[in-house]
């Protein structure tokens, strides 16, 4: 067993694995590129809808129900289905990933907006703010902590799921796992797995650092309990949907 470990480190240290189109830097870049692409599309869909629903309260039931139902959807199934229907290429798996990423982002945005103290919203309105100002100056800043939580979850979920995408002929760090599996090259599989785990942890740390450096500390203090409960009791299903479980 110890030689598996040394072989793996030898694989990781081998300069040949760090250059060329199948090299680790390229695979890493692909992995981050897919993740970024999915996140941009998913945010462009989820945040506006979430803000609208959170602000107006319209379509709340539909969103909570949809997010809950989609949670149970197996990522691998959706990926294979999209590839079979739409063919191999970059976009089918990306769309499958977007479908899986939108619900947690949507739930996070909606939960963020509706967790804002109603008194704050009423005060903003009483001060003469327009609805847009209420949304972007009062609700949005106060909702940011919960929204950012949803974003962090989404990013990690996508990083994890992108490793599966290699199964359907795309790049990314997952390639090492499946190429290794076909060749029974265990050190390569293990090396790839360590890289993926390392990437996930590193990205999570960076996101935590961003939160600490750029987002107001005050906004992240726990809101008082009754307020949290008030949000949640109205949406028993939401708590479940907002909690990120691992998918795929």
């Amino acid at each position: 067993m110890s030689n598996v470990v040394t072989d793996t480190f030898a694989w990781l240290a081998d300069p040949a694995n760090w250059s060329g189109s199948a090299g680790i830097p390229v695979r890493l870049a692909e992995h981050l590129l897919y993740t970024g692409l999915v996140m941009v599309i998913a945010i462009a869909i989820a945040v506006p809808v979430g803000l609208f629903v959170g602000h107006t309260g319209r379509g709340r039931v539909a969103i909570v129900g949809l997010a809950g139902a989609l949670r149970a959807l197996p990522t691998l199934g959706l990926l294979t289905l999209f590839v079979l229907i739409a063919g191999i290429g970059l976009m089918p798996p990306i769309w499958a990933l977007v479908i899986l990423t939108v619900p947690p982002l949507l739930a996070g945005t909606y939960a963020g907006i509706s967790s804002v103290d109603r008194n704050v919203v009423d005060a903003a309105r009483a001060m003469g703010m327009t609805e847009m100002q209420v949304l972007f100056r009062a609700e949005f800043p106060n909702a940011l902590p919960v929204m950012y939580g949803g974003f962090r979850t989404g990013v990690l979920q996508v990083i994890a799921t992108v490793s599966v995408v290699a199964y359907i002929n795309l790049g990314g760090l997952g390639r090492y796992l499946f190429d290794g599996l076909v060749l029974s090259d265990f050190p390569q599989m293990l090396g790839g797995s360590l890289l993926i785990a390392g990437l996930a942890i590193a990205v999570d740390l960076v996101l935590a650092l961003i939160q600490r450096l750029f987002l107001s500390r005050g906004a992240f203090s726990q809101p008082n309990r009754s307020q949290q409960a008030a949000v949640d009791l109205t949406d028993p299903a939401l708590a479940g949907t907002a909690v990120q479980g691992g998918t795929s």
């Binding site: 598996v4 470990v5 949670r71 197996p74 990522t75 229907i85 796992l177 265990f186 409960a229 949640d232």
Partner: protein, 246 residues
């Protein structure tokens, strides 16, 4: 539909394997997480240590973990034990947090009343803390159940038998029906497990229903318990919980 009828024996076998791989980790998860959470409550340092470790473990993508574990455990890569251990790790990571929240949701006055009535620590834990924290605990279990059922299918990529096999073989044979049957079967399993958990919770916490029918919305004890439960359930969704794994 025809394909499903022709192959239903195989689908049921795979579903059985799928269920075993999803349920075992939940059982082990509860057995490990509850004592661990009780231990973590003893000191602040221990608590934050346990929480940090669990969110770190939860960050590791499942596919990577399925491959890393054999090296640590000395198992073969195709061994279903890897899947059970990996999913148990995720279950513990999620449940420790949920259990801590669950214990926090128990009214401190009740705890002190139990002490005043002469409950010994262990009896108090078994008869007061644990039963009263069940609603929050079950909220956590339901999340674990859905995510486990979805995660198990990833193990099919490595060739470990479960419903995920329908996806891999459907893709190889360019056969959409098989993939659709797999998705539907997994959704049904998830729904089934969720209903069982809801039912189990109802059976284990009869008092929450008794109050709900007599005086909902009043300041009754169980009402508070419920808000506490909801608050913790929401807290589960907060940033530190970590990310999804795939």
């Amino acid at each position: 539909m025809e394909w499903f009828l022709a192959n239903r024996a195989e689908v049921f076998t795979l579903a059985g394997q799928h269920l075993v791989l999803a349920i075992l980790p939940m059982v082990f998860g509860v057995i490990i997480a509850v004592p661990l959470a009780q231990l973590a409550r003893q000191s602040r340092g221990l608590r934050s240590g346990v929480l940090t470790a669990s969110s770190l473990l939860y960050t590791i993508p499942s596919l990577a973990l399925f491959i890393i574990l054999p090296t640590i455990l000395g198992t073969r890569i195709l061994d279903p034990v890897n899947v059970v251990v990996a999913l148990t790790i995720y279950a513990v990571a999620l449940l420790v947090r949920a259990t801590l929240d669950a214990f926090d949701s128990v009214d401190e006055d009740l705890r002190q009343a139990a002490v005043a009535m002469g409950f010994k620590p262990f009896a108090r834990f078994m008869q007061i803390d644990l039963p009263l924290s069940l609603p929050v605990l079950f909220a956590g279990l339901r999340v674990v159940s859905v995510s486990n059922i979805s995660l198990v299918s990833v193990a099919a990529l490595l060739g470990i038998g479960n419903l995920g096999m329908l996806f891999t073989s459907g893709l190889q044979r360019d056969f959409v029906t098989e993939v659709v049957v797999g998705i539907i079967a997994i959704l049904i399993l998830a729904l089934l497990m969720d209903s069982i958990l809801v039912l189990l919770e109802r059976l284990l916490t009869p008092w929450t229903r008794a109050v709900a029918t007599t005086g909902a919305g009043t300041d009754s004890g169980a009402g508070q318990d419920k808000t506490g439960a909801a608050a913790s359930a929401l807290r589960l969704s907060r940033p530190k919980t970590g990310g999804g794994n795939a």
